[in-house]
Symmetry: C2
Subunit: 173 residues, 2 copies
């Protein structure tokens, strides 16, 4: 199937927002999604955006029955490794189920990697759920290393009350 990968614009935020929810449903955590299309617009397309986003688009003749032609996205941002330097983090990579098997996911991932290389990034990281073997196999087949398995890295998070408590305990200047 023919598809095109291009940078997302503000006008794509409704489509991206819809797919963020589809991905969260697949990951069995739909109630976690609190971000609206309007917040995506503000956070990604105003000055000093928090993220970059690519979308995959198919021609009109392949649109879904709801009329969607934007059928995949990759959302990423720049990070930093104190060992290696500038790096990329791929927060989300998603292709709608009916459009899988056409190289769209690989195309989005490669485009993110190409953008990173052009900006001198030396690493591309992301997170997957342990039961999501399709995703784990996909990344492995492309040469990725599972650092949780090979080196023992765990992901740790503060949020809500624990983040509030930390912030409230900060030393005064």
């Amino acid at each position: 199937m023919n598809f095109k990968i291009r940078p997302a614009t503000k006008a794509d935020c409704k489509d991206v927002s819809r797919m963020i929810m589809e991905l969260a449903m697949f990951e069995k955590m739909p109630d976690q999604v609190k971000i609206s299309p309007e917040e995506l617009e503000r956070d990604g397309f105003d000055q000093n955006p928090f993220f970059q986003c690519l979308v995959a688009e198919v021609p009109k003749e392949h649109q879904t029955k709801e009329g969607f032609t934007v059928v995949g996205y990759a959302l990423y941002f720049y990070t930093y490794s104190t060992w290696k330097g500038p790096s990329l983090y791929l927060e989300d990579l998603y292709v709608m189920p009916d459009f899988r098997g056409n190289g769209i996911g690989k195309g989005l991932l490669s485009k993110v990697a190409e953008t990173g290389k052009r900006k001198q990034c030396v690493r591309l990281q992301l997170s997957v759920l342990d039961w999501n073997t399709a995703a784990r196999d996909f990344y492995k087949s492309k040469g990725a290393e599972d650092l949780t398995v090979s080196e023992g890295w765990h992901v740790i998070r503060f949020m809500d009350q624990s983040l509030e408590n930390l912030a409230n305990g900060a030393p005064k200047d």
Copy 2:
């Protein structure tokens, strides 16, 4: 012990670089460190910095036998959650062994959280090694959740040849 936490400046990059290496040695991966003090200066203190950094400083009378007074650092950057919005990632948190037990680590961590809250960040994430029980217990005692344990998240990385191969396979515009 008296200590002060303040934003790092270019002049601190030698100290930060020294402690990046100390932390990598503790993590048993010293050969991974490729970043020089000059690269830290460029990446963190020019226009569009890749990271933010705080340092902890003790008074002259507590300096190490080598004469160091900058004895800890926290290096972090802004990220984005497509579920929750703007977030922080704490790449490194380190306090020199002789200065531990004085609340310096807690002070650095709290200051990062406070900065994040001021910028409307709703999450603070980081990674720890599974065998580093001191660090895991420290974060747990402050209310952090281990997402690798509770939800099964794994950290995946492309670099070197696998990143190169991905980038080379990108679709042409």
